[in-house]
Symmetry: C2
Subunit: 133 residues, 2 copies
């Protein structure tokens, strides 16, 4: 049975449940940063997914990119399935700016996360829901 | 007209030309590290690709993962489309080991690349060609 890895749950807020994936917001206000977690037990790699699920995941990655682009007009999108620390299959979709704290480096490990304030989190959730419509 | 970004060409060797992508080997013997570059002019983001091309790219990512898994039996695969430095759309597919130089961090910027010797490069090319058959 699928269970969200507690290390992912601890650093994020669930924004939506899409056909395949839970959509999480990483609790780091430094970057608009979504994480897609396919709701399938025991998956570690993209290639572990059934072929039909892979196509759905691709659609959901595209949808996440489209939403972030509409929400924040980033300079670049970063899409990555790494999983060296948390092996449960998850895909990062991150809006990057030439002015952000890590640019041009990847975001991982560059600086400590800046948690959202409750007001900023509510604002992100509201704008995400509007863009996802 | 498509032209491979010279910064990608400078750090890699072409291994194959697949239906959509050129397959490059990053010239860093620290990690078995492929780069897929869709041969389409002016692409920066996954979502810039035509829908049909996206599906082909997904197939080619899966194929690259399968080949690396067969070649080196990694502990984890890392798949990423970042493009903060070189904006031309390219996808990293990297075989990771719990014993490698950057583990568990992402590989980018952790240590200077270790160029392949000619013999090691030829060996990689031979094993890649065998695994890709």
């Amino acid at each position: 049975m699928f269970q969200l890895d507690p290390r992912l749950a601890a650093v994020s807020t669930e924004l939506a449940a899409w056909p395949l994936s839970r959509v999480l917001l990483m609790n780091d206000a430094s970057y608009p940063w979504l994480i897609l977690v396919p709701v399938r037990a025991g998956m570690r790699e993209l290639i572990d997914l059934a072929v039909a699920d892979r196509a759905v995941l691709l659609d959901e990655i595209v949808r996440a990119c489209d939403i972030l682009r509409a929400m924040v007009k980033p300079d670049k999108l970063n899409v990555a399935a790494l999983g060296n620390v948390v092996a449960q299959l998850h895909v990062h979709v991150i809006a990057r700016f030439a002015t952000d704290a890590a640019w041009p480096r990847p975001v991982w490990g560059v600086k400590p996360p800046v948690p959202y304030t409750p007001a900023a989190l509510a604002d992100f959730q509201r704008r995400f829901a509007a863009a996802a419509r």
